[in-house]
């Protein structure tokens, strides 16, 4: 299959390119940028006039809910949501049931994903057995099965000794460890940012220092062990400052933020709207602004969807009892574009945070449109708006704080390895 994407605006952050260029694809790879290679004759021409042609989006956190939570979502429903959102590579956290602490589970997941032939899937392995924080999981076995790094997802960080040993062990083999920095005892019973809103609503608070104390512990251990650590879902201004200082110090750390947290704050909870019950909690506007600044200056490497399908019943409960999380695979691009517009960030810099930068964190060679690359491409209309409704969302989960919003950026075509896996041209 030879594809000619014609007349589009090519935006490739890795190469600093934002210019009108045609893209030529053959045998699943990019074979020409601007000019067709000799003898190229397209089987299909995609008219990209007025559209942006960008690398496929790399999402560092998307729960697909298999195995174990198929009533919330399935691999197929969520992979379809992914490509509908222009996401061609996604990282799945290990918090399935059972958790991804065994090579067999990882292999099965990868096999199932592959047979669907939609997006590329990279599992995170559990850092500890059953994610209980006591015994190390078999990291090398999991690595061989295809895990890109190791994580506790949102499960509590192991005790400091186990954490130290886990980081040492991971460093021995050069593995990366992904941690959501939150001190479990300080977060216990909390469902919202410990501040004025939680006080008014009488909701259990999670103080900002639950994040900074965990960060301080992990950073101290990174200094000793030299482990590559990726901090998942920063939420506080102080946390951003700590990661900024750690990077300046030269520590091998990276960080991401969930798209919801780039836009929302605890005030948006309103009168107990469970769609705003997220982990980590939405914090103050000051925190949100610091997250935005951290994204703009590169302290935060990536925006992820933190996609978490939740069934409707689990949200139709009092706030504290509701299941936290929001879907986001189909909103990652629109919310990134909205941030770019709000913060006056260029399109090329904004797209870097969902393509080349997360690919760098993952140490995979994708996330850009270089010649010879696997042709993962997202073609979208930056001027069109999408209206977020339950019917519009392809994800099985309809839980998002952005229901009813109009957001910029409509994906028209998604290509994975040179195949058109999603198309929604203007009618």
């Amino acid at each position: 299959m030879k594809i000619h994407i014609k007349g589009g605006r090519l935006v490739d952050p890795r190469h600093g390119l934002d210019a009108p260029r045609d893209l030529f694809i053959a045998a699943g790879r990019i074979v020409g940028i601007g000019a067709a290679p000799d003898g190229f004759s397209a089987n299909r021409v995609i008219d990209a006039r007025g559209l942006v042609v960008a690398p496929g989006i790399v999402d560092l956190a998307a729960r697909l809910r298999e195995p174990g939570f198929e009533h919330k979502a399935t691999l197929e429903s969520e992979m379809r949501a992914a490509v509908a959102g222009g996401v061609t590579t996604l990282v799945v956290p290990p918090d399935t049931d059972p958790p991804l602490d065994e090579p067999g589970l990882v292999e099965m997941l990868k096999h199932r994903a592959k047979s669907l032939n939609l997006a590329h899937l990279h599992p995170l392995g559990a850092l500890t057995a059953r994610m209980e924080g006591e015994r190390l999981a078999e990291l090398a076995e999991l690595r061989d099965a295809g895990c890109v790094a190791f994580s506790q997802a949102n499960a509590p960080l192991p005790g400091t000794e186990v954490l130290w040993r886990a980081l040492q062990y991971a460093a021995t083999f050069g593995y990366g460890v992904w941690l959501q920095p939150q001190d479990p005892s300080l977060a216990r019973g909390g469902v919202a940012h410990d501040g004025e809103v939680a006080t008014r609503l009488g909701l259990g608070g999670i103080p900002s220092f639950a994040e900074t104390i965990a960060l301080a512990t992990v950073l101290s251990l990174v200094r000793i062990t030299g482990t590559r650590v990726h901090f998942c879902r920063l939420s506080t201004a102080e946390g951003v400052a700590m990661v900024r200082a750690a990077k300046r110090e030269g520590l091998p750390v990276s960080a991401d933020v969930a798209a919801n947290h780039v836009h929302l704050s605890d005030i948006d909870i309103g009168w107990f709207d469970a769609h705003f019950h997220l982990v980590p909690p939405l914090r103050s506007i000051r925190d949100r602004d610091a997250l935005r600044a951290g994204l703009a200056d590169g302290t935060i490497d990536a925006i992820c969807s933190d996609h978490t399908p939740v069934d409707e019943d689990a949200k139709l409960l009092p706030f504290a009892e509701s299941e936290p999380g929001a879907v986001g695979l189909e909103l990652l691009l629109p919310l990134t574009l909205k941030w770019a517009a709000d913060a006056k960030v260029s399109l090329v810099d904004a797209l870097a945070r969902i393509t080349s930068d997360p690919a760098r964190v993952l140490r995979i060679g994708t996330g850009h449109l270089g010649a010879g690359q696997v042709a993962d491409v997202c073609v979208f209309d930056p001027a069109a708006h999408v209206r977020v409704t339950p019917e519009w969302l392809r994800s099985q989960g309809k839980n998002t704080p952005f229901l009813g919003y109009e957001l910029p950026g409509a994906v028209r075509y998604t290509l994975v390895a040179g195949h058109v896996v999603h198309e929604a041209p203007l009618a």
Binding site: T199, G205, W271, A320
Partner: protein, 317 residues
């Protein structure tokens, strides 16, 4: 965002929290309650305002006092009252909160009086019921207990008349107290210029001063020249642990004794939402003393709850 308690005309449809309610509605409730106080003192203690209506007391958390006063209030309005104590066990059997509400709605409930351990639960119910059904929050988690806040305001008005020149101190476990939150909103809405909260740092919620109160850790300083003292109940499970070392140590610093009471204005009143822990937050001689208005609070509570239910039912006197 429209206040979910008000209908399009700005009338009270549900009573879920005092926060955000206009002053006029609070005064309407207090004035209506005053007119009902006479009813409770008559020989035939009934008015027909809720005749033919069904009030369901839906208590997901145990309560005798509050449930009883709601029951009496509804019966004095001639409503049919159904009391349901729903243990959390029926919820663990798989029936969700809204399933329960749907089932009871099918029995033609006109009003739900809801107590629930989770903050916000009555909002969920209010957003779910049919338009003619009303919801009264009888206490949700740490969030709100609006009829208690209103009866406290009623009591203060009864003894002190004008809210706009008062100093009010609320003492004790503010962190876990829905009573304190509702009273603070009532007082600030009614124009009380000086509302103080007094307690150790461990029992004050983050950012409480943003509710419009001043914060005191020293009880003597906090009580100086106040007109009203509201003592909060300290729950047993809070008396020892990471928040407090012991009930005795709490009493030493924050218990209301005659000596501390003497720091307030000579005509200051002492209130308590009950049930009291004598010797933990309040000395018996104060609880039974001349300045205590704790029992009148209970009487006023019935009139206030009658007022709320009759206004919600659109049958205000």
């Amino acid at each position: 965002m429209r206040n979910p308690q008000l209908n399009a005309k700005g009338e009270l449809r549900h009573l879920l929290t005092i926060e955000g309610l206009p002053r006029e509605i609070l005064l309407q409730i207090l004035d209506t309650a005053k007119s009902f106080l006479g009813v409770t003192e008559r020989e035939v203690k009934k008015v027909p305002l809720l005749r033919g209506k069904s009030v369901f007391n839906l208590f997901f958390e145990p309560s005798t006092r509050t449930r009883t006063t709601f029951e009496i209030a509804a019966k004095r309005l001639s409503a049919d009252v159904v009391n349901l104590a729903i243990s959390t066990s029926s919820q663990t059997k798989g029936e969700t909160l809204l399933d329960t509400v749907d089932n009871l709605s099918a029995m033609h409930a006109d009003m739900f009086v809801v107590r629930h351990a989770s903050s916000g639960a009555p909002f969920l119910i209010a957003g779910h019921v049919k338009p003619h059904v009303h919801v009264v929050n009888a206490g949700d988690g740490r969030h709100a207990h609006p009829t208690q806040g209103l009866l406290d305001a009623y009591t203060i008005r009864h003894y002190k008349q004008d809210f706009t020149r008062l100093s009010v101190a609320i003492v004790g476990d503010i962190l876990h107290s829905r009573v304190a939150r509702s009273l603070i909103h009532a007082l600030t809405t009614l124009g009380t210029p000086d509302v103080r909260v007094i307690g150790p740092q461990t029992l004050l919620p983050t950012g409480v001063e943003r509710l419009g109160v001043s914060v005191h850790h020293d009880m003597a300083a906090g009580l100086r020249d106040v007109d009203v003292i509201v003592m909060l109940r300290l729950q047993n499970e809070r008396m020892r642990g990471p928040l407090l070392p012991s009930a005795g140590e709490f009493f030493k610093a924050y218990g209301l004794t005659p000596e501390k009471l003497a720091l307030a204005k000579p005509d200051a009143i002492v209130m308590h939402p009950g049930p009291m822990n004598r010797g933990v937050e309040i000395d018996s001689s104060v609880a039974d003393g001349a300045q205590a208005v704790i029992l009148p609070q209970v009487t006023f509570g019935i009139a206030v709850r009658m007022a709320v239910m009759s206004i919600l039912a659109g049958a205000s006197a």
